[in-house]
Assembly symmetry: C2
Homo-oligomer: 226 residues x 2
Amino acid sequence: MLNGFYKRLLPSPPAIDFVSNNGKKLFLEAYQNGTMQGFNSLISHFQTQTELTYCGLASLTMVLNSLAIDPGRKWKGPWRWFDESMLDYCGPLETVRANGISFEKLASLGHCAGAKVEAFRASNITIDDFRKYVTKCSTTDDCHIIASYHRAALKQTAGGHYSPIGGYHAGKDMVLILDVARFKYPPHWVPLSLIWEGMNYTVGSTGKTRGFLLVSRPHKEPNMLK
Amino acid sequence: MLNGFYKRLLPSPPAIDFVSNNGKKLFLEAYQNGTMQGFNSLISHFQTQTELTYCGLASLTMVLNSLAIDPGRKWKGPWRWFDESMLDYCGPLETVRANGISFEKLASLGHCAGAKVEAFRASNITIDDFRKYVTKCSTTDDCHIIASYHRAALKQTAGGHYSPIGGYHAGKDMVLILDVARFKYPPHWVPLSLIWEGMNYTVGSTGKTRGFLLVSRPHKEPNMLK
């Protein structure tokens, strides 16, 4: 017997594997209906979290690269490009490697990296508000959503997790989770109400609920535009 | 002025940016026509080459993970998953880091990692054969193609490069290149005839043409199936 795990079986229902026939059908319907407008930019930057505690950093890196935010410093050779290892704006990454990252700190990191970040705790808004933001970001290239949720709501193993939302199927009211733990679960469709339920789990250390980050390019004055 | 480059302008024509309106239109048409069947599995594993010389390793890693080939050893924690750094089946990766990787060696690596790999030099087949294989792999999840080409054919800067083909638009006879140098160019559609032209450039050190690798899961005898 080999040691370790080769992926985990995606609990389905409630999730629908993006690579399955049903997942492809949902994808095509949503694409035709115009609620996958942000998909192309986000999927072009899909990545695996490089450390088991880097789900937040990987999600943010995907979104920053998707929004074409210039990090202003080099990654490799002459190229400026966001990599998780470069998200040290708020201090060294050792604590993230040890413990993961808090909701507030991830929002700060996005802001310091040059994005506009609006943070929403599930306790402070309604599911209708959440659906409104999902609809907004799925119908443009202008913003992306990083969900902070507890996997138990999706019957998945392990606890708190971050991943971007890659699109929306309005007819079925389902979102496409681009899970950065790709070694574990493939991208999957889940009912919007369930990811919302996952956002409503409280974080033990703070007593606050999870939620989501709405990330976009910062507004520039006309004279700042090139 | 910042040092370095923030991406390169995609020469268009001949390429069409996947994230542009025209790129999305081509994508939807191809998807509806059933020649993006391999897209979902491949895009679910899209990644950036982690070294400037790792285009071959990144392309192979994408394809191995897409085909759900179990590496039989752990990546991080308990998880078995292909990472470029694990493609050392044919020896240490120092020479790849220094010089990139040859067509034969990349094929060997794929084979040693557990895949079935068929290598085609452009000089040995016809464009019609190439189109046949592209059609085959774009209409199933069973195989993926890694193109080995010279960027000059696409009016792109720098020389030889590897990247997987993510799909096919039969009506326009265009392929979707999932460029692993994502810090440089986004995924892009190009005429199949031009990537074929890029495969026909000779490699200086060998005098042989480039070509493509057709990668699939190895055939298993019925009694080997679980």
